[in-house]
Amino acid sequence: MSEPTNTFEPRIVAFFCNWCTYTAADLAGVSRMKYAPNIRVVRLMCSGRLDPQFVMAAFAKGADGVLIGGCHPGDCHYVEGNYKALRRVTLLKRMLADLGIEEDRFRLEWISASEGDKVKHVVNEMVEKIRALGPLDMPGKHTHWDKEMEELEAHVNHSQKEIPAHAH
């Protein structure tokens, strides 16, 4: 509890498809596998439901990492939702890199319903990598960015006395 770096607990938002990866995470639970408590799963019916906006929102709201989990290629419960996810994720990865989000913060994994141990490995690995990267803290960054405006706002709104509408 001494080093501030040790107290950083990455927060990972995961989007898991109902049929494979969510079930795999259930299996990891039933099998009492142990993994890092840093992940919060949002259930989607299919990785094809993954709207890149969700990823942007998660980062913007304070996620340090985003994990997408879907069925293996060819295994999607809805035939090919995961291919559509792959297309979006491929482009999104590039765009996020251009926006300065480190590669290790955004990951797509195919995890089938029987791969409870893969959930464990992927989560643990991701948590460690992000721990090494440190917090992303977008909300904090945004607040910090906007600090520069405080002074002026106060200036305009307080230097001038209220001039009532009936004054003229």
Partner: protein, 658 residues
């Protein structure tokens, strides 16, 4: 309008409570905006737990319910019911998984508790956006498809047919019967497999409610529970099934005077002609012509003595083509069975190299009266073996092959020990790692066989080698460390029998994709729940029976087949099924008609209304994946239960920590 949310934190006995401070979580939830009531409770899924929800809805005028407990895949349904019975729409409910996804997988109580709070907060943010929805009801077609005609498929078919349901039984081999038809006796009762199986096979054939299609494959599966459309390809057997009487005259008359080709039914231990009947009790008892070996089919130049012999029956038709049949069924039972472990994968056991090493299934055929030797258990040279080693666990319980126990090998190895001893009087040595006899009458059977003078050696066989390296069909030495005596044993034997394990069918992966179900890593079809839904799959209306789900013996297979049939019956007799309302719909006035969504849908549920120039989703075809929703550049497609707002709020909520 602000909501009145009720939050329930379940202890699940100590399952959750030991890792999550449920009381603290409930107290925290009470502080969240919109939460009118928050409780922790020992077992939410119990009757009192559910009643609690119902009462609270009424007394506290709750309009949203959150239960944080186990996985929604387990109890969502339970709590939706409770919510509905409390008098509000069941989709005002949201489940939070703090057991499988939290308590069970973490070791730090403080962090697990934090996680539970985060997840509940996500739900608290989400539920105000929930809309009242109606489940849609679809009728269940009463017919059933059963894929695989082994004992599992046969039993399920008969159960359903006897209940008056129409069954299609599709089998890819030329005959039904599966592995069981190849066995000689069954353990532990030693009743003759054929005697108990063949009557069932012929009942299948004659049953008015069963359409049996052998030599056929399922090529396409579409639709959903209650309404599957399946295409079956009936492969040409070059014999018209309805006209053939199974007299074998064509086989006799074939230009090949002697059987020349390895006979599949006998695992290549015997020979057959290009035209053949798989085995005497084959069902249907109809000949097959193998296009690979038939001169007429290969070259078009044969005297066709078979056709002559068939005469007026005119059952032979060399021009037969594969025929596609389309059927509509409401439920499907998969009973596609297993394959035996390929013993060649363990080269030091000598299978395929030393001529007197056999698999257990080979021996089943050799001891069988209708087998290639007429039931004589002999070596390749025709002599009776004087000593036989039976090796258990071949390909099972081994890091290098399969880790799992194949469940039947100990017992069938004991059975074979008994049969070998009975037929040949040879010295029999059973090499086992552990003797696993957990079934009814199994341990007694083990004692009986032990008492018959079979040598039981506890040790994993490390090597099988030739006594005389030059003579591949000569005597072999079986080497194992006897872990009871703590000595190395080298036992010379004439014959080695490998107790091969069971594996998933080679094409299990293709089959499961076709039926949209899951597999374990070993390739066994995955049941919905190992204990509570052992014959169900994740795809509604598709059930499992027999070894395609995992190794099991005949009694268990039959029991499971009965269970699968019962599950199918339950659906059929209910007449209709309720579907999740998680379908997508287009908000007309927001759709620009950009057509992006149309190719997204794997079920062609989306089409263009040419008058309005917008997209429309056919709700009956939509299965609710949400792919089009994510793709819609206007956010004009919404998915029930997974609307953008609901998901955005879930994201906001999960991250909105203090």
């Amino acid at each position: 309008m602000s909501n009145r949310i009720g939050v329930y934190v379940c202890h699940c006995g100590t399952n959750i409570a030991s890792m999550v401070d449920c009381k603290a979580v409930a107290e925290y939830a009470a502080t969240l905006p919109g939460v009118a009531l928050s409780r922790d409770y020992k077992y939410m899924c119990s009757d009192p737990g559910q009643t609690l929800i119902q009462q609270d809805i009424k007394e506290h005028k709750l309009d949203r319910i959150i239960v944080s407990a186990c996985s929604p895949l387990l109890h969502e349904h339970t709590f939706r019911n409770a919510t509905r019975q409390g008098g509000i729409n069941e989709f005002f409910f949201q489940m939070v998984n703090i057991r499988e996804h939290d308590a069970w997988v973490h070791t730090d109580r403080a962090k697990a508790t934090e996680k539970a709070k985060d997840l509940i907060r996500a739900a608290v943010h989400r539920v105000p956006f929930h809309k009242p929805l109606e489940k849609k009801t679809v009728p269940i077609k009463p017919d059933v498809l059963i894929v695989g005609g082994g004992i599992a498929g046969i039993h399920a078919a008969l159960t359903l047919a006897n209940a008056g349901k129409k069954v299609y039984l599709v089998e890819r081999d030329a005959t039904i019967g599966g592995h069981m038809a190849k066995f000689d006796k069954t353990f532990p009762t030693l009743d003759c497999a054929a005697c108990i199986l063949t009557p069932k096979m012929s009942t299948v054939k004659t049953h008015p409610n069963i359409t049996m299609w052998t030599y056929s494959d399922v090529t396409k599966v579409e639709g959903f529970v209650g309404n599957y459309k399946v295409t079956v390809r009936r492969n040409p057997r070059y014999i018209i099934e309805e006209l053939c009487v199974g007299c074998s005259e064509c086989v006799e008359a074939c230009v090949f005077k002697e059987p020349k080709f390895p006979d599949e039914f006998n695992l290549g231990l015997g020979k057959r002609k290009p035209v053949f009947l798989p085995f005497p009790q084959a069902t249907p008892l109809v000949a097959v012509i193998d296009p690979e070996t038939c001169i007429q089919l290969k070259t078009g130049k044969c005297k066709k003595t078979c056709v002559e012999a068939c005469g007026d029956r005119k059952a032979i038709d060399f021009s037969q083509k594969a025929e596609e049949k389309e059927i509509e069924v409401g439920t499907i039972i998969l009973s596609t069975g297993f394959k035996i472990f390929d013993a060649k994968r363990i080269p030091y056991y000598g299978y395929g190299t030393y001529s007197n090493v056999f698999t257990a299934l080979d021996i089943e055929r050799l001891v069988n009266a209708s087998g290639p030797t007429g039931g004589e258990l002999v070596l390749r040279n025709g002599q009776k073996p004087k000593s036989v080693a039976i090796v258990h666990c071949v390909g099972s319980r081994d890091e290098n092959t399969n880790k799992y126990c194949s469940r039947v090998c100990c017992m069938y190895s004991l059975k074979l020990a008994h049969l070998v001893k009975e037929r040949t009087g040879a010295e029999v040595y059973n090499f086992y790692i552990d003797m696993r006899t957990p079934g009814k009458g199994f341990e007694e059977f083990y004692s009986k066989v032990s008492g018959e003078g079979v040598h039981m050696i506890r040790g994993k066989v490390a090597d099988v080698f030739l006594e005389n390296p030059a003579d591949k069909s000569g005597r072999m030495i079986v080497q194992a460390e006897d872990t009871l005596l703590n000595i190395m044993r080298k036992v010379p034997v004439d014959m080695v029998v490998l107790g091969v394990g069971l594996e998933a069918q080679a094409d299990a992966n293709d089959v499961r994709r076709q039926f949209n179900i899951s597999c374990s890593t070993e390739g066994w079809f995955l049941e919905r729940h190992p204990k509570l839904a052992p014959v169900n799959t994740f795809t509604d209306g598709i059930f499992l029976a027999g070894c395609c789900q995992g190794p099991k013996d005949i009694p268990d297979t039959v029991a499971q087949a009965g269970a699968a049939a019962a599950e199918a019956l339950a659906l059929i007799d209910a007449g209709s099924v309720e579907l999740e309302p998680n379908t997508a719909f287009v908000v007309e006035q927001e759709c620009s008609g950009c057509k992006t969504c149309i190719p997204m849908c794997p079920y062609t549920a989306i089409s263009r209304n040419e008058d309005k120039k917008i997209a429309v989703i056919n709700e009956a075809l939509c299965k609710g994946c949400g792919t089009c929703v994510a793709a819609c550049p206007s956010g004009a497609i919404k998915q029930n239960l997974f609307e953008d707002d609901e998901i955005f709020e879930e994201i906001n909520g999960v991250l909105a920590h203090v």
